[in-house]
């Protein structure tokens, strides 16, 4: 039996980055907000303080902070011809759980995506012609431009206190910054991080190769910072426990450091944790959401009525919730019709590892999640693609994030995996090895999508999401091209021996690659090919707004969180300044 709770103005599903930002923006606009989070409450001094956070086994290996697959997972197959099987243990990506979401355990690499990304289809056709588009692609523009989103990027960067060096201030290129970035209205809020030795060597090598290296923008703090909500952060101490760990000394931007202290003080706000939303409830004509139903830890179901529903779960689980709630038409890969589940994308990773011998001491344990140097020369459309045979690109970077020894014991190719020779090689190479990596774009493809699994169910008996994905030839070519360049860089850095890191064969969910899943509930300018309009508003149910990377029609060669945060502010502005004045569709259909 489902019991009905008193109505609220706004219900937020998921209290991570986007949920906390939108909840606070809504509460400050005078609306009553209830946020419902399936995981536990978490805060710095109790749940990931300096006394317990630096624990590689518990967090990086046993995955204590992440969503536990026993509660919910998804199934996976490479293509339509296979039977999807459940992801029983996380590998390729690590979905967050609990208050703060993956914003608790991210590395903090915070980018603005390029102007090209938002118009990647039309810009490719304009420069290279229709024939340049890859086979079976579903590339489509976002329905929003970089220029429209600039002020929202600014808000997210100043929320987090991002450390970096501007490359383009109002159209004027700045020395030492990223010359390929879109124009920004003002500099980064804080100066760049201090750089580990490997990063400075990469910087020198990259400049020598004629590339344009710059400090990777960082949500680890280079200095103390207070944001516009009054929330305070301290300086990063390069503890080496960033991604997969909460930050114990307030030095990584997260919902806990940047939003929640202000949010909980809002009288119109309430959070309910340990509560799993199972569906968005609709009016009988299906055109209006009436609230959500959630299940508490005792297995009891509760209906929370609301005038506005904000879907702020992780990308995968927002898409699942749409499918479970029958909002929008599920995508069909055979006909190409339908929208929900369309354009699921991932990222191309890889790079080169260099073994430098005893004269180098990289001290890899002294590291932050985003203290490093990046190169954007081979990303997006920053170089002429006429001869390369692919669209898109990748960022190159040297960001040594950790020397944690269960996961980071590089040995040269050919070393045995155990025994005396392994031990000697481990001793010899731990401190003298480093890597340069790529993070490459992935376009939307007809056969890469999300839907509900016909067989496997979650702990509550609802169908799991099913992922069908593999890398396509366009992306493999792009990856090879950019990984070649990381090898050039590694040789220029002076490595004695270089190992190429490239995933060949079908995409595998086993080795960690990145938690940068995108698409499935994409934004666009056409309700037949997108789930949401440019204001992140559902075309089908206009009092449902979406947040997160599920909105991205493609995946760029940069980390997604900057764009996720910007879209959250953008959508909150749209609700406050447009929707509340005239509730209904913000873009006519």
């Amino acid at each position: 039996m489902t019991r009905r709770l008193p109505a609220t103005d706004v219900v937020v599903v998921g209290l991570g980055w986007t949920g906390s930002i939108m909840a606070l923006e809504m509460a400050r606009a005078g609306l009553r907000v209830v946020a419902i989070e399936r995981g536990p409450w978490r805060d710095t001094s109790t749940d990931f303080p300096t006394t317990t956070a630096p624990d590689e086994l518990r967090y990086a290996i046993r995955q204590d902070l992440f969503l536990r697959p026993a509660q919910e997972t998804l199934t996976f197959r490479n293509n339509l011809g296979q039977t999807a099987l459940p992801i029983r243990r996380w590998g390729s990506f690590l979905p967050g759980n609990g208050v703060g979401g993956a914003g608790v355990h991210w590395n903090g690499q915070t980018w603005r995506w390029h102007p090209w990304d938002f118009t990647h289809r039309s810009a490719t056709i304009a420069r290279y012609g229709q024939a340049a588009l890859p086979a079976d692609n579903m590339m489509q523009d976002w329905g929003i431009t970089y220029d429209e989103l600039e002020a929202s990027y600014d808000r997210f960067e100043y929320l987090c206190g991002i450390a970096g060096r501007a490359g383009n201030l109002g159209g004027e290129l700045q020395p030492g910054g990223n010359p390929f970035e879109g124009p920004r209205a003002r500099p980064f809020p804080t100066p760049p991080m201090n750089m580990p030795l490997a990063a400075t060597m990469f910087e020198t090598a990259a400049a020598g190769l004629g590339w344009k290296p710059f400090p990777s923008p960082s949500a680890n703090m280079s200095t103390a910072y207070t944001n516009f909500y009054g929330c305070r952060l301290g300086p990063c101490t390069y503890c080496g426990f960033c991604e997969r760990f909460g930050c114990g000394n307030f030095s990584k931007a997260s919902p806990q450091t940047c939003v929640l202290p202000a949010l909980v003080r809002q009288r119109a706000f309430e959070a309910r944790t340990d509560s799993q939303v199972t569906k968005v409830n609709l009016s009988t004509d299906g055109k209006r959401a009436t609230g959500v139903t959630y299940v508490d830890t005792a297995g009891e179901a509760w209906e929370q009525p609301a005038d506005i529903v904000l879907l702020c779960a992780y990308q995968l689980f927002n898409v699942r919730l749409l499918l479970l709630s029958s909002i929008g038409k599920p995508y069909d890969p055979v006909t190409g019709q339908g929208t929900v589940g369309r354009n699921y994308a991932y990222q191309v990773t890889g790079g080169a590892t260099g073994f430098f011998g005893r004269e180098r001491r990289f001290n890899p344990f002294a590291a932050a999640g985003s203290a490093g140097i990046a190169v954007d020369d081979f990303n997006a459309d920053h170089f002429d693609h006429t001869q390369v045979g692919f669209v898109g690109g990748a960022s190159l970077s040297c960001i040594p994030t950790s020397g944690r020894p269960i996961g980071n014991r590089p040995v040269p190719p050919g070393t045995p995996r155990w025994g005396a020779a392994w031990k000697q090689a481990t001793r010899d190479n731990y401190n003298s090895t480093t890597s340069v990596g790529i993070q490459g774009s992935v376009m939307g493809y007809r056969g890469c999508y999300l839907d509900l699994d016909p067989t496997y169910r979650d702990a509550l008996g609802q169908p799991l999401l099913r992922m069908t994905f593999d890398f396509q030839e366009n992306e493999r070519k792009m990856g090879r091209y950019c990984i070649d360049r990381t090898e050039h860089a590694m040789r220029a850095m002076g490595a004695n021996q270089v190992r190429r890191n490239e995933h060949t064969g079908p995409y595998s969910i086993t080795p960690y690659q990145s938690t940068h899943n995108t698409g499935g509930a994409i934004m666009g300018d056409n309700p037949t090919t997108s789930v949401a309009n440019k204001y992140c508003q559902s075309w089908d149910v206009p009092n449902v707004f979406l947040a997160g990377a599920c909105l991205f029609p493609m995946n760029a060669g940069l980390n997604p969180t900057g764009t996720v945060g910007a879209l959250a502010f953008w959508a909150a502005d749209a609700i406050r300044e447009r929707y509340l004045k005239a509730p209904g569709a913000l873009v006519p259909t």
Binding site: D43, L57, A70, G240, S275, R361, R417, R427
Partner: protein, 244 residues
């Protein structure tokens, strides 16, 4: 592992003044102020040597010997057996790791592609229990009644290599999955925080020069390419924390 020091539900009753907990359901309700309670902490349970909790004495001896072959002692540092990898694994196997509590273990179970990852219904606890029994039977039958610890080092290495290659021929035994799990767990035991029972005297960390959980390496970044002089520290400390 991760036994909470105090129970979260108990904490609900003792949250700070302004945190109004009027739960409409079995949810935790947060509003007004950030919850906080004195002494709230969730440290891992400190593993101390004592009676085995998962292994019997023979199994523990076999695991200790396997760890010692995978990570042999040399002049400068102890081996995996010396460093407590068996104790580490014993305690891991009675926790959520042992019976895959946190993993998705609903059926149907099917053989998937390599890209689909772990699909076995066999939990680590079952794999070790049955695997060690199969190895013991095999050793007795093929090495004149000797068990794994009674084999010579060369014989032990050869058997482990055969398991790694999937050519051990041990009956009723998936040798490759067993070996892969064993190798991963021994490495965990050698390099995880000593609080979990392995990495005794921080031997693994000293091997590579990892200084542990100091949480502040600003000074290291300021001196690039210099050797770090500090001694490693674990979650429960280092000898210098006590007066000498």
């Amino acid at each position: 592992m991760n036994a909470p020091r105090c129970n979260r539900r108990h904490l609900l009753a003792s949250t700070a003044l302004l945190v109004l907990v009027d739960t409409p359901s079995h949810s935790r309700v947060i509003r007004g102020a950030l919850p906080w309670s004195p002494n709230e902490a969730y440290p891992p349970e400190r593993v101390l040597p004592g009676v085995w909790r998962f292994f019997n004495a023979d199994e523990a001896a076999a695991i200790g010997d396997m760890a010692q072959r995978l990570i042999p002692a040399d002049g400068a540092s102890p081996g995996g057996g010396d460093a407590g990898c068996a104790l580490f694994l014993d305690r891991q196997l009675v926790g959520p790791f042992g019976d895959s509590t946190w993993l998705y273990m609903q059926g149907p179970f099917a053989v998937g592609t390599p890209q689909q990852g772990l699909q076995s219904p066999i939990t680590p606890a079952v794999r070790y229990r049955t695997g060690l029994a199969a190895i013991a039977t095999h050793c007795r039958a093929n090495f004149a009644g000797r068990t794994f610890p009674a084999l010579t080092g060369a014989e032990q290495d050869a058997l482990l290599s055969d398991m790694e290659a999937g050519t051990s021929g041990i009956a009723d035994f998936e040798d490759k999955p067993f070996f892969e799990m064993l190798l991963a767990n021994v490495m965990e035991g050698y390099f995880a925080d000593p609080v979990y029972g392995g990495n005794r005297d921080m031997a693994g960390w000293k091997l590579v020069g990892f200084p542990g959980v100091r949480y502040d390496y600003r000074d290291v970044l300021a001196r690039p390419n210099e050797a770090y002089a500090g001694l490693p520290v674990g979650l429960t400390g280092r000898p210098a924390w006590d007066r000498s």
